[in-house]
Amino acid sequence: QPPLPLVVTTWPFHSATQAAWKALAARGSALDAVETGCAQCETDQCDGSVGYGGSPDESGETTLDAMIMNGNTMEVGAVASLRRIKNAIGVARAVMEHTKHTFLVGESASLFAESMGFVCEDLTTNRSLSIYSKWLDQQCQPNFRKNVTPDPTKSCGPYKPVKSLSEGKKPTLQKQVDLHSHD
């Protein structure tokens, strides 16, 4: 067998791999295939870590990050902390094709997306709401806060900064591993 074409996807997200392969079979470019495959995962909400209705932040909101890169031209489009728009990879492609920028983030990225015709909709679902309310019931554990008061390992915020309790100690990047909270 010839080794090409080839689609490789993280995790067993087979529907995305299939969609990308179909895009290639329909004479789409490699870039088209990446966009189609990732968009399939956004629609499918692959394992809850892709797409709307997953990984709510401290205020219960789902926000999306995505990028797309053309290895021939080194063109890139990326969005981060995207609100109210489900098709993040589509917006990343729009950044590549309709701006001379590379990376748009946050509320303004959502406004750009709307101006490019992407549908504005609520990314919260019953599932993300239940994840959020369960977290609140567990005194907001786990969280990403440190050197704040009240003690972030025991309670929710709002938090205020405190002098670093570990001053003088050698800083370490090592932290608790949480398999259920990743990118």
Binding site: W11, F13, E35, D183
Partner: protein, 141 residues
């Protein structure tokens, strides 16, 4: 995160990622996925790579860019991925992360970092001769 590498029949390489990030993140927090060279990287003269895992840690090492540069220096895709993961492990011995790599001629591989509850990384591929996607797996370093 979904990370994806596509190499078309002529060796043109593209990569991409999409994710809703870490749960319970501080609003405004951005992970590694949209960061060029962290979430993914593509260079059709070499190949492509894409990453998934603890974005706060991985983005500091630009593992996808590193993996493509490893391939540029002659590593095969599996070795390129492994070296990118090992580089992070030097600083953060235990972290949750995985990376997929492919070169422009269609070879591919993956690597991951062993963490409590995570000792194997499963990923999905499609290549000529298959009639549907195939699940492959690597043991973590």
């Amino acid at each position: 995160t979904i990370g994806m590498i596509v190499v078309d029949g002529n060796g043109n390489v593209a990569t991409g990622t999409s994710t809703n990030g870490a749960s319970h993140k501080i609003p405004g927090r951005v992970g590694d996925s949209p960061m060029i060279g962290a979430g993914s990287y593509a260079d059709s003269s070499v190949g492509g790579a894409a990453a998934t895992g603890d974005g706060d840690t991985m983005m500091r090492f630009l593992p996808s860019y590193q993996a493509v540069e490893n391939m540029r220096m002659g590593a095969d895709p599996t070795m390129a991925c492994q070296k990118a993961i090992a580089r992070i492990q030097k600083h953060v011995p235990i972290f949750f992360g995985a990376i997929i790599c492919a070169n422009k001629t269609g070879s591919y591989g993956a690597a991951c970092s062993k963490a409590p509850g995570f000792t194997q990384f499963h990923y999905s591929i499609y290549k000529p001769g298959l009639s549907q996607p195939l699940e492959e797996m690597v043991d973590c370093l």
